[in-house]
């Protein structure tokens, strides 16, 4: 293929070149000053081209004399002299009229390339080529400098969380506001035990490459441990095979942590089907037949949320839900006894564990929110001040830097 393709391309290149020579008389004035430089902040796979527009390429002249620019390229054979023009140049892209730059994303690191830019008229007439004067070689950058500010912001938030964990470990008292839904978890498991019924834990309909599912599993660890202590049974139907596998590990560890490894039954975690509603039908069918006394929904949920919650309501179970899928929150809020909204859901496992270092992360999250709020307020103040002066002055410049360099990075 590659050799045949190569021949084709060479022929095509030759045809283009010939056509260019023939149509020269009808062609527009050529572009000029072609400069090729390395594309910054990449793995050495791209080059940036810049040129001066053809004098015939004027914005308000109709009909247009220039329709587009063809970009031609030739890779330099090692050691061989490179002709300034010739059939080995192949069209690798095009830019529309008025555009004086182009990025060639298909380069090989370390290879030298020669470029030409040709202006093309609507009738197909081609100008003479503007050619690069020196070969350009794409270079790989080790670090993406455009993501520096983003990295700094991320680093600050992570450090805040780490600092709070360290502070918590040192034993300083930590006070967290109460979240009613989490205080009800023990009570719900307890009620299931008293009634001799099971607890149902639904870890959502996404796979373990979704953070909500992972967070749901950390909550499962706490719920299962409580259940093991109370000697109550937890059923976990899953809609993904990997979630089933992971949930079994979680449950096994939780039972061991509760000191009752022998009580763990692998069959209490089972896979139904990947299909969202097939899964919902299976879980609700199970609910009306086994009548669990407590239902926990922690994970990623979509349209099936209300389906589950209303069925749970019908059988009179205590229901506690947590998800970060904001379109489903209203349904959980309406039909469940307690709902953990967004960030509260991610905080659940820390709350339930009660360990100081886990609670430390929550303090860190709070500081992150304050950082976000401070950025919003500072930006808004700059935006307000920037409107007052004629061209905004330093406030507008500050806002531009904030928006483009700090928040626009990454």
């Amino acid at each position: 293929m590659s050799s045949a393709n190569g021949v084709c391309r060479t022929l095509l290149g030759a045809a283009v070149w010939l056509a260019g020579a023939v149509a020269l008389a009808a062609g527009p004035a050529p572009p000029a000053e072609l400069h090729v430089v390395d594309h910054p902040n990449d793995a050495g796979t791209a080059l940036d081209l810049r040129w001066q527009l053809s004098p015939d390429d004027q914005p308000d002249v109709t009909p247009r004399k220039v329709l587009r620019y063809d970009i031609l390229r030739q890779a330099a054979a090692p050691g061989a002299p490179v002709p300034a023009n010739g059939p080995a140049f192949q069209v690798i892209g095009e830019a529309t009229y008025g555009a004086a730059k182009f990025t060639d994303p298909n380069c090989v690191r370390g290879t030298a390339y020669w470029y030409q830019v040709v202006a093309v008229a609507p009738g197909g007439g081609r100008s003479l080529a503007a050619a690069s004067t020196a070969p350009a070689v794409p270079v790989m950058q080790l670090f993406d400098a455009t993501r520096l500010w983003f990295g700094l912001l991320l680093g600050v938030v992570c450090l805040l969380i780490l600092a709070c964990i360290a502070r918590a470990r040192s034993g300083r008292p930590m006070h967290m506001r109460r979240i009613a839904g989490l205080e009800a978890v023990d009570e719900a498991v307890g009620r299931a035990t008293e009634m001799g019924r099971t607890c149902l834990f639904v870890p959502g309909v996404q796979d373990i490459n979704d953070m909500m599912t992972v967070a749901g599993l950390t909550v499962l660890a706490r719920v299962a441990q409580t259940a093991a202590e109370y000697d109550s049974r937890v059923e976990v139907p899953t809609s993904r095979s990997l979630v089933m596998t992971a949930a079994r590990e979680t449950m096994q560890a939780a039972y061991a942590a509760a000191g009752r490894p022998e009580a763990y039954r692998e069959d209490s975690v089972y896979y139904l089907t990947d299909e969202q509603f097939g899964y919902a039908a299976g879980v609700t069918g199970q609910m009306v037949r086994e009548r669990p006394a407590a239902c926990f929904y922690f994970g990623a949920f979509y349209a099936e949320s209300l389906y589950l919650a209303e069925t749970g309501n019908l059988i009179g179970a205590i229901q506690i839900a947590g998800t970060a899928e904001s379109s489903q929150l209203p349904f959980f809020v309406a039909a469940c006894d307690y709902t953990l909204i967004g960030e509260e859901f991610f905080a659940a496992s820390a709350y339930l564990s009660g360990e100081p270092q886990q609670l430390g992360t929550l303090l860190g999250q709070d500081l992150g929110k304050l950082l976000g709020a401070a950025l919003i307020v500072a930006g808004s103040v700059l935006a307000t001040l920037g409107q007052l002066g004629p061209d905004g002055g330093s406030a507008a410049a500050g806002l531009r830097y904030l928006m483009n360099s700090i928040l626009g990075s990454g």
Binding site: D274, K369, L375, Q387
Partner: protein, 303 residues
């Protein structure tokens, strides 16, 4: 038999009788197809011919190439009965729903296996490890210059470790691929969420607190911006964990929860709209395609 069972038997019996009567009278649910000959030549010049069937409207049934399709007519009846089976859950758990549920779980789990095999395992794993083999039977359109990608041995190894669970000993090895992907998820999501959901959302919320339009003060736009900013900050205050919701913070958090509730109310209604459209579409299938009670698309005019 208890009363419930009697009721169900009577309902099913009456329903079946009514349907049979109507089906015999109108031919409802019948699907028609148009037979189209497909001619194709292989690269070696060998000729192949088979028949493809495209959907046709019942009103075209007199045309020469249009005929009744048994599998599709049966399909519409099965689909309709499955639809009723799913709807029957509204009256409570019952044998029809249990049957529907068993069929749909079984088929959709089987479907997931087929999709996983044909769209993932064959092209992404086998196709990378042994391109010639896959090109020879499953994907003749694969580019001829496709080379073996040895890196695909990594996912193969991860799969084998995961499936090692089925072996009688050493099941703990399956934790390695799990650990690999959970660690991966944590790393990937940490960056992407911080970018799209933190930095970008902060940037989107930055608004001028006094809006000047064409050199004049615009009170409405100003008020709106102030409201948006207050709403975002108050809702963030609600999410603070380390501060008790009391005093000034309590008032901010209360405003925050009010914003949340309005958000939920609006989102509730928009979703409800969608669900009702779905229900209308479903009932249209029953009334139009199956029962032939209505004909909004004029597919049976003149029958």
């Amino acid at each position: 038999m208890n009363r419930n069972t009697v009721v169900w038997v009577v309902v099913f019996g009456l329903g079946a009788a009514g349907l049979a009567w109507r089906a015999a009278g109108t031919g409802m649910g019948s699907q028609y197809v148009r037979a189209i000959e497909v001619h194709a030549a292989s690269k070696t010049g060998q000729q192949f011919t088979w028949t493809r069937y495209d959907d046709a409207f019942p009103k075209d049934r007199g045309q020469p190439d249009v005929a009744l399709s048994t599998p599709r007519t049966l399909g519409v009846w099965v689909a309709a009965l499955m639809t009723l089976g799913a709807f029957s859950f509204l009256f409570g758990d019952n044998p029809l729903f249990k049957l529907t549920q068993a069929i749909v779980i079984g088929t959709s789990a089987g479907f997931a296996v087929c999709v996983g095999f044909w769209s993932t395992v064959v092209p992404m794993l086998m196709g990378r490890l042994h391109p010639e083999f896959v090109r020879s039977w499953a994907a003749p359109g694969m580019p001829p210059d496709q080379q073996t990608e040895w890196i695909a041995l990594v996912p193969l190894a991860l799969c084998l470790m995961l499936l090692w669970r089925l072996a009688p000993w050493g099941g703990w090895i399956s934790r390695w691929p799990l650990a690999f992907f959970i660690g991966l998820t944590a790393g990937l999501r940490l960056v992407t969420f911080f970018k799209a959901d933190f930095v970008d959302q902060v940037a989107n919320t930055i608004l001028p607190l006094a809006v000047m339009a064409d050199g004049r003060f615009d009170p409405w736009a100003t008020l709106k911006n102030l409201a948006v900013l207050a709403a975002v900050l108050a809702t963030l205050a609600y999410f603070l964990f380390s501060v008790e919701h009391a005093g000034a913070m309590g008032r901010a958090a209360r405003l925050g929860i009010c914003v949340l509730m309005i958000t939920f109310g609006a989102s509730f209604s928009l979703t409800v709209m969608g669900r009702i459209s779905m229900l209308a579409a479903r009932l249209q299938f029953l009334f139009d395609d199956w029962l032939w009670l209505i004909d909004p698309l004029n597919r049976r005019t003149g029958l």
